[in-house]
Symmetry: C3
Subunit: 368 residues, 3 copies
């Protein structure tokens, strides 16, 4: 790591210095662990306070945080930039010597089928496998053990991390990144019970993944039964997510860790599914829907709704119900007391010759 | 894809034409996406309506759907068959040129231990690994990166997809299919706390998987501690399922995505566990039990029961309770109003010299 | 398997014979499946009863179980030892011929980068991959398909099972065991929405795993954003667990199957997370906390607490609430009856010229 001055850093990120620009900076680290000689950053109002106890030598701040930062840490040299996180990443990469150059080539310990079409500038590492008629686009990388089976199409500048598997006929757009252990195109879970045995429905569809999708580690995305399972442009999927056969995932979705979508679901654009959510088969979820963690969605969800709970319901109702549930012991006690008091009233009423049974009101009116 | 006529299709599937048999058919696609030139199929009453808006050129229908289909789409040529889904798969395979021939052989980039026994007609792809004394049955396939460790026994006509791992001594019956990334025979989660450290209990059992089992992608099935973890004949397991050590899974179970069974559970035959179900260790589940999605089973379940919820209870009760929970805010309001009215009654009663306290009934009787 | 006498077994495990020491023993099996010729063991009072129906020829028992065992099975020869489970494992290993010798070497079908540093006495199996500048400590094993990417550090006596993946810069302490399919160091799930697209925050941190950690199969542990994701000494992680970026897991934790921890969580020492638990991002969990299965933790948890439920609450409260929920239909009925009775009372009161509306108490007092 090469040391530099705050002035040089300001010029790298096109920022404005507030305070002493001659201070020497050796590394860029987040505010929780930054020490003397480090530059840190404040991207969010909520963490500005953390600067107070932080022994960093300087901080990258946004235009609207400057005043706040100066109140909290008046002597700390600052570099004011439009986007402190971006600037921090740039400075960190600079101080740490940049990314190592990417190895390019087809390693002799890889396997490429004779009929496969391989683009330019690819990196195909040892033990990667490319099947018959598969296509690997320009600039794409297959890390060790990545398996691209027959008739797959991998677009440009894709990254398949180690031990990813694409079953036959899977297609990826451009700039798709798939993390290790993820399996795309495995058979959907479709059987019919015939004479006491589960007979498999052949899963002869495909998977189509659009541009700029990123998929985490150890996910599974099943191929369609007769059509394609699809993931829309720009959607991001976390680890250990299961997407069943025939799902149609929209654009720019955020699907968090351990979510499971059963078969034939459909999501709109900008949908967010938080961690461990489950979605019943054949469910349609509208645009911009947000589903809270661990929710169980078993019905179609109109656009814009926010749901929570299992079974899922609108978040406001669900929160109210969670409150009610927490108060159940108290409510139970109240009901017990009411029942006891009412029993007493009924006895008293009976002694007075008055019935409180609601069905006998006519009789009662006569007697009263 | 080769085009053909409806008459030829009818003869392939042994069906009966209703309407114009000369119409030309180029592909077979499901009713949601079928277009002109396609033949589609109706396997289920519920989707018959979809025919109305479907521009397909023909449809495969079952005996009891014919009348319905003719009402919905009176001009659509039909082929009547016993099993429309089976017929559809057959026609689709025919039109699409059939399945590609299976490659057979042991690829030089695979690794086979000298002591391994390899059957006839196997396909062992590049980077597949077969350990010492392992046996691979006739007709079985190991896709790239599949690892079969020492002393494993793989039956006939099994398929181990890419990057499957079988730890030492795992045994598979015949016609077992295991999807990519699944791990069978890993150590169970067994420790004892000794002097502040978790000391591992050696996991020296095995895994035995019976005939005709299919296991999805990225599952884990742990080996037994001292005995065998077993999966019964014909059971089907979806993706990302965890089966802990010493489990005894019955025959013809359906275990859906992301289900987790802790250690030493036992299931009967024809059990269904829906998505994301969790089962506590040492739980016994009877025959034909159905557990709803996301349920948490923490007690033995008698045969034939259907459970739902976490903690799980009989589905009818649970549904009633879900209704009750949804009405909690309303009930809470009612209780508040009752409490207020009762307070008022108590004040009035006290003014009249009458106590409503249930413990004082004797006194009250005297005063009344 | 070599047969032996109970006397010889007693001398192997340094135990004391009670009964006939000449009985012949061929195998060691757990009490549920032990038969004639087997020795079994009783480690736990709860299973002592199982001896009654067990046809085993002998049993290993602890000092305090001897009396009990003699009551239950008075004729069964016993070997009394301090730790019956340990003794059982020793006897079993002896009778089954011991563990096979470990193969040592670097297989020519493996790939080792020229700049990697490989210790002594390692086992690097076919298709294992060791990247640039990676270090493999003495005595460590890489099973087939294990991938150790650039700049990783693997300590001494580690075991990476088949198809494990360590991304760049992951570091493991000594005696770390990682089961098949687990991915360590994959990118965290961090994006910012910019002009309608999710833009990735570069994940440039690392993962640091301390000594004596064991990690199950098909887990994912993401690298930190700018710092390190850490797992403390002696912690044990079951299968299919997801640990998000920046997590700081304490020492001697037990994290059960399918648990998910979102980003930037922190756990103390001796924490237990049962199966399928979910933890919200940025949650801090104190020492010795126990979280019950399927719970959803969305708040910091003080040391020593036991939580259950989703949303999680203290176990005692939650159990009480589960009881209340189960009684909801009954309570609902009670409230209905109370409402009806109160309606009747209100009518009667109105007929008597008395209002029960609590707001009108002054007026009422005047009229009474």
């Amino acid at each position: 790591m090469a040391s530099t001055t705050l002035e040089q850093i300001a010029s790298i990120v096109n920022g404005r210095i507030v305070g002493n620009g001659t201070v020497s900076i050796a590394d860029a680290r987040p505010v929780e662990i930054a020490g003397p000689g480090d530059i840190t950053f404040i991207a969010d109002d909520r963490v500005a306070r953390a600067l107070r106890a932080c022994p960093a030598s300087a901080a990258l701040v946004g235009p609207h945080f400057r005043t706040r930062a100066q109140v909290i840490a008046p002597d700390l040299p600052l570099v004011e930039v439009e986007d402190p996180l971006d600037a921090f990443v740039k400075v960190r990469t600079h101080l740490r010597g940049g990314e190592p150059p990417r190895w390019v080539g087809i390693h002799p310990k890889a396997y490429i089928a004779a009929t496969a079409k391989i683009g330019r500038n690819v990196a195909i590492h040892p033990f990667a496998y490319v099947g018959e008629y598969a296509e690997i686009g320009d600039g794409s990388t297959l890390f060790p053990g990545a398996v691209v089976q027959s008739h797959c199409v991998v677009g440009k500048d894709c990254v398949l991390h180690a031990n990813v598997v694409l079953y036959d006929e899977t297609s990826l757009g451009d700039r798709v990144e798939v993390h290790s252990g993820t399996v795309i195109g495995s058979d959907g879970f479709g059987y019919r019970l015939k004479e006491g045995r589960h007979v498999k429905i052949p899963q002869t569809g495909t998977v189509e993944i659009a541009d700029d999708v990123e998929i985490g580690a150890n996910c599974t995305i099943d191929r369609g039964t007769f059509e394609a399972t699809t993931i829309g442009e720009g959607s991001k999927i976390d680890n250990l997510v299961m997407i069943g056969h025939n799902n149609q995932i929209g654009q720019h979705n955020m699907i968090c860790g351990q979510v499971g979508l059963a078969g034939s679901c459909k999501t709109g654009d900008y949908v967010v599914l938080a961690g461990q959510v489950g979605v019943k088969d054949h469910t349609e979820i509208g645009d911009k829907v947000i589903i809270g963690a661990q929710a169980g969605v078993h019905r179609n969800v109109p656009s814009g709704q926010q749901l929570l709970g299992s079974p899922a319901m609108p978040i406001r109702e669900q929160r109210r119900i969670f409150q009610m549930i927490a108060r159940l012991p108290e409510m139970h006690q109240q009901v017990r007391e009411l029942v006891a008091a009412m029993e007493r009233i009924k006895i008293l009423a009976a002694q007075a010759g008055v019935s409180l049974a609601p069905m006998e009101s006519n009789t009662l009116e006569e007697t009263s």
